[in-house]
Structures are given as structure tokens and as C-alpha cells.
């Protein structure tokens, strides 16, 4: 389960996830809360490349389809950009 999948499963608006989690569209862009930056880690090369297709990319930007939900992320806070597409 990824953060994107969890969001889509619970009909959370603001996560388009057009490609369905293939790291191929950058429409599940989120900003990871400062307190959770370390726990979620850094994007890998493919994700960093795909972030080029997102808007208003910041140092806390991630694609939520690439953040795997683990016990360590219980309580994770992410914010959604104004627009995904």
C-alpha cells in the first residue's frame, strides 16, 4: 500500500494518480510535512525525474505513489498542491 493508493481508496480529493501508480504522470504530487521528511526518505532517480512534470516542486515534494505506508509512518502528514494537472 502506498500513500497514493490509500488516498484513492478513501476518495481523498487532490490526488489524481492518472497513471495508477506507475510513477509515470506526476499527478499524485504531495508535500511531506517537515516532521516526516526523514521517515519518508528521499525520492529515487525515477521519481525525481518525474517530479519535473509536477508544478511548484519544493524540497519536500514527493510522488505519493512512491511512498510505501509502513508502521513507521503512522500519523504521516502530507499536503496537496493547489493543482495536480
Amino acid at each position: 500500500m502506498t500513500v497514493m493508493e490509500a488516498a484513492v481508496k478513501h476518495s481523498i480529493p487532490g490526488i489524481a494518480a492518472e497513471c495508477g501508480g506507475a510513477c509515470a504522470c506526476a499527478t499524485c504530487h504531495v508535500y511531506v510535512d517537515e516532521a516526516w521528511r526523514e521517515a519518508t526518505g528521499n525520492p529515487e532517480q525515477m521519481e525525481e525525474d518525474m517530479l519535473d512534470f509536477a508544478f511548484d516542486v519544493r524540497s519536500e515534494s514527493r510522488l505519493s505513489c512512491q511512498i510505501k505506508v509502513t508502521d513507521a509512518l503512522d500519523g504521516l502528514v502530507v499536503r496537496i498542491p493547489e493543482k495536480q494537472t
Partner: protein
């Protein structure tokens, strides 16, 4: 623009896996097809979104990538000689007496007896950056592509992005632009290494400028851009003069003109029956991800099934006087002849 009308049995809108397999199923019942797609190659989402990603639920193929599936389908449909029209989108659908006429944005007109909409999630269109007022500049100062580079001769051009599109346009426009600035959020580029090398050489020779940052605001009047505000990597902003901006942030799927063809729609999907996969209009079919019916699953394998049943009904329109006898490719010598294996 061509005045010639192409006349054919079937027009398939969309060259994704379902559109491609529709060529096969129609071909088996002697229906010739032309296929139209907005992308420059077959495969649809399989080519654009998942070329290297594995698909595990194609019957008989334990694992196959989007590109491999596309290649296999292209090989499988080869005997039927479908004609492809890439880089264009069907804009209009007209009803003639017992026929349909479709026209693409490149001005190609086709007339057909059956129309098969296999457009998936819609047509891939460039993503529009969420910059306030950007719509007013589009077509005048903001472009996602230009048909002729000459259009931008002598202009101050700003290209935004770091992928193949951004780099290709940088290299293509540099010779005609008065000045060209490439803006990207980081100093790494996902574009082909050869293009990156060429671009860096142009930066080195002073023929273009490269800047780091992201556009946050557009400035201009009546659709004429004069500058943009850029937020640099340090968070500080600066003004970048530009008459023309070309942003490249990938593609997104939009239903597009299909919505205006007078077909019944339900939440941007086309309702069909599950016997023929025909829309609210006789002779117009919708198969694959773009259709909806009770129990619909957006799976490639469902689309294949839909294509097979669609072809049965399409046969009735294309050959109203002929009775279709159901046959298996394994045993039918006439089908094997069509497939070129006998």
C-alpha cells in the same frame, strides 16, 4: 490540408491496445480499418505511461511491458493492413446517410460505415501549468507546440522543462529565436543524453542561456507576454523577460472533442450495451476504458473481449446482406488465409 476524402469500412479512434486489437477482430470479418491517434506512435497509455512497466494480467503472458504488448499487437494485426494516422485528433463527427464522416485537426477527412471509439482515458494533451491567467496567453505567447518554427523567428523565447520535449524544442528553436532561455527546476535533465550534450554546448558557446527555477507568474497584456516571475532554487524570485513561453510538463488525458459528438455520456464515459458495445448511436461503438456499463472493469482484457463482440455487430452494418458464420482461427482455413498463415 487535403480535400480528398478517405473512404473506408471502419475508423478506429485510438491506437492503444484495444484500438489495435479492434483492427484484428474487424479484420477477421473482412472489415478494413483506419486508425487515428494523437500520439506519434501506437500503444496509447501502454506507450506513453507504461512502456517499460510490467503488466501481469494479459491472459497467457505471465509478464509483458507496455511496449512489448504494443509491439506484439502491431505484429499480430499486420496481415490486416490497417492504415494509421498519427499526431492528430479527431475533431468532428458528422452523420451522412448511412455513413459517418470524421475530420482530424490536421484536416484529414475520412468516411466510414462504422466508427469505433477506443480512446481510453481521452487524448493526451500537454499539461497546462497552474499559472493565473495562462489561458489568455495560449495561442499568442504561450505554446505547447508550434507547427512551424518560423512562427517564432526573431522572438525572445523561454522554454520551461528538462525532458525530451523541452530539449528538442530548445535545439529546434535556437537557430530562429532572437534569444532563447531554457528554464528548469534542477540542473539534471531526463532528456536523451545526446540532446543534453548539444544543449550544454549551446550554453557554453553563449547561443542560449540556461537558468534554474520555476515560473510563478506571467506578466503581459492582451495575451502578449513580456516577462515571467521565476522562483530560483534559493527561494528568491527574479524577472525573466520573454515574449514566448513554451512549458513542457508532460501530458495528461482529456476527453476532448468526443464530448461534443452528440453521444450520450455518463461522467465522461460512453455508455454502451454489453452485447454489441454500441453507443446511443447505431454504428458508433465504444470499447476499452472509454466505455461504461454495469460491472465494467477497466482492464485490457475486457477491452479485447469488447472488440470481438463489437466486430460481430459491425459486420452487420458493413455487409448487411452477408450472414456471418462464427469460426475459429485454429480450424478455419478462410480465417487462416486472412491471417496469412495458410
Amino acid at each position: 490540408m487535403s480535400e480528398d476524402v478517405i473512404r473506408t469500412d471502419a475508423v478506429i479512434v485510438g491506437a492503444g491496445p484495444i484500438g489495435l486489437f479492434a483492427v484484428f477482430e474487424l479484420g477477421l470479418v473482412d472489415i478494413k480499418a483506419h486508425v487515428i491517434d494523437i500520439l506519434d506512435r501506437p500503444g496509447g497509455q501502454c506507450a506513453e505511461l507504461y512502456p517499460e512497466k510490467p503488466i501481469y494480467d494479459i491472459p497467457g503472458l505471465t509478464v509483458v511491458t507496455g511496449q512489448e504488448l504494443t509491439d506484439k499487437l502491431m505484429d499480430q494485426i499486420k496481415p490486416f493492413g490497417a492504415e494509421f494516422h498519427f499526431n492528430q485528433r479527431v475533431e468532428t463527427l458528422e452523420r451522412l446517410d448511412g455513413r459517418f464522416r470524421v475530420t482530424t485537426d490536421l484536416g484529414i477527412t475520412l468516411e466510414c460505415k462504422v466508427l469505433v471509439i477506443a480512446a481510453g482515458g481521452g487524448s493526451f494533451t500537454p499539461k497546462r501549468p497552474p499559472l493565473p491567467g495562462i489561458e489568455t496567453y495560449e495561442g499568442k505567447s504561450v505554446f505547447y507546440s508550434v507547427r512551424k518554427v518560423e512562427q517564432l523567428r526573431g522572438r525572445d523565447v523561454l522554454i520551461v522543462g528538462g525532458g525530451d520535449s523541452a530539449l528538442d524544442w530548445t535545439l529546434n528553436l535556437q537557430p530562429v529565436a532572437k534569444s532563447l532561455t531554457l528554464l528548469h527546476r534542477r540542473a539534471e535533465f531526463r532528456a536523451a543524453p545526446a540532446s543534453v550534450q548539444k544543449m550544454l554546448a549551446l550554453v557554453e558557446s553563449g547561443d542560449i542561456t540556461f537558468k534554474l527555477g520555476q515560473v510563478t507568474e506571467l506578466h503581459g497584456e492582451r495575451g502578449e507576454l513580456c516577462s515571467v516571475t521565476v522562483k530560483g532554487p534559493d527561494g528568491a524570485t527574479f524577472e525573466q523577460p520573454a515574449e514566448i513561453m513554451m512549458p513542457f510538463f508532460g501530458l495528461t488525458m482529456k476527453l476532448g472533442p468526443v464530448a461534443d459528438w452528440g453521444l450520450n455520456l455518463h461522467e465522461n464515459l460512453i455508455p454502451v450495451d454489453t452485447e454489441k458495445f454500441e453507443t446511443s448511436e447505431k454504428g458508433v461503438f465504444a470499447i476499452g476504458d472509454i466505455n461504461t456499463y454495469p460491472g465494467k472493469l477497466k482492464l485490457i482484457l475486457s477491452g479485447f473481449h469488447e472488440a470481438a463482440l463489437m466486430a460481430q455487430q459491425a459486420h452487420k452494418y458493413v455487409y448487411p446482406d452477408k450472414k456471418l458464420i462464427f469460426q475459429y482461427t485454429t480450424s478455419s482455413s478462410s480465417l487462416q488465409k486472412k491471417l496469412g498463415v495458410k
